[in-house]
Amino acid sequence: MTSPPVIKNCSYCLAHVPDLVQYGSKPRREIMRDPAIRGSIARALRPYNKAVCYPPNQTFIGNLSPDELNTIPRPWFTRETTGRNTGRFGEILDQTTFFGLLKLADVLNPPLFPMDETALATLRESLADHPLLTGFASRLETPHQNGENSTQQPSPQTSALAMHSEGKRYGWFHGDERAEGVDDENLGPYHLLENSCTKTTGALALSWLLHREQMAPEKVDFLISCGEEACGDRYQRGGGGMAKAIGEMCGCSNASGMDIKNFCAAPASAIVTAAAMVKAGLHKRVVVVGGGSLAKLGMKFQSFLEHDLPILDDCLACTALLISGDDGVSPIIRLDPGAVGKVPIGAGNTDESVFRHYLLNPLAALNLQCTDIDRYAAELQNPEIMEFAGSGDVTSKNYRKIGAMAVLAKQLEKSEMDSWIKKIGMVGFAPTQGHIPSAVPYIGHAMEAMHRGEIKRAMFLSRASLFLNRCTNLLDGVSFILERNPKC
């Protein structure tokens, strides 16, 4: 008989990368149409200290709770709050230190991100000054050791991407320029930078998780990556390998790993899979890691430019979670029959059907009602980013649906719906990074609230737009329930 799986620890980090906003999918496409937009974007970027002080970012790394964020009047980006770049769950990394990690993530020869010794020394110094990442500094080899040349501008044929930080050029990010890399659009500079950003931020989140748990990397048994990138070449685009790439960078020498894909619901799917592995006795310590999405940087930049506002979607977001056996303290993931919410293929796409399957059915399987859950976490996108873009408050919309389903199920009076939503809901606080905002940013806050005895049960509901793959018109939903450890 195996012990019930728990979420033992977690980490949440942001990397503030304003100079990479131009390489987000939307900005990149618009710059190709009109190169003058690059300058407009550059003028609208926030400095690091503003991104640090931004209340939703402080909430993401754990210095504010979602309830505390909700008391801060909007607009949040004008608030002169005191912000620290480290938080209870992780940190907001500056761009130069991020470049140091990005350089370290580059394992190709010739390198994807070559630079001269002067640039390398700056990055090495930046990593060395970082209390958690200092061990990475000595691993940045000098150019003569790794065969690099310089930061000279490459030939126009390479389409390499200029890499600047705080006005200084650190070099160019290349594609795979070996014989096997040419003519493969999947191995061009943009796709490889996208994959490298996922790996780098995944390693950042994993480093923080190991630090918070005070656990040696060799203790990790298995890694599951849930990022949105599609690693691989022309014969297997999306083939994967990200989990082991991240684990390798962090020294998890005893771990194997795999990647799970399910669009925005991939973190929830990965957590459920990790929990099942632990419960089955396959592995003792499984880490779920989600790196950030380069493609989604600046996704809503046009709206910010139109309103003469700073571009707020300027951070890569990442998380890592440690799933292990019951320690008598950490919250339990309910894996009883029917407790994990799924949306069957035959359920169709109507909201009522989807929510019935991944909200009501799991609760019924546990003989619970909607009102037995203390807090729900659905899509937790920062409304300030979404509303300027005309998409509305996505978080609030999902709570309306949860409330409506509770009323439909006759578990809540319609007249009580608004007050109930205030009690069980929260304000969104995660940047528009696709999979990262989908329910899981609340896990850290839920763990703390359970530890303090404020809540007993939280439900995480994650949705996936499967129809974006053009192979189906379906969408998906995955849910799970986290409970305060009864032994605690």
């Binding site: 899509e379 998409s391 509305g392 996505v394 528009t432 737009s465």
Partner: protein, 41 residues
């Protein structure tokens, strides 16, 4: 009022999906000639 009409439906995943709108319209006798649901996150 809508019986025998044709409709083009645009929905949003986190608001009202195209499928939900179409289901309602079909019940009122509308022919759906195009339906799409967008994801803005």
């Amino acid at each position: 009022m809508l019986h025998m009409k044709k409709a083009i439906v645009f929905g949003e995943r986190d608001d009202i999906s195209g499928t939900t709108v179409s289901t309602c319209l079909k019940a009122a006798g509308v022919e759906i000639v195009y339906e799409d649901t967008a994801c803005f996150v």
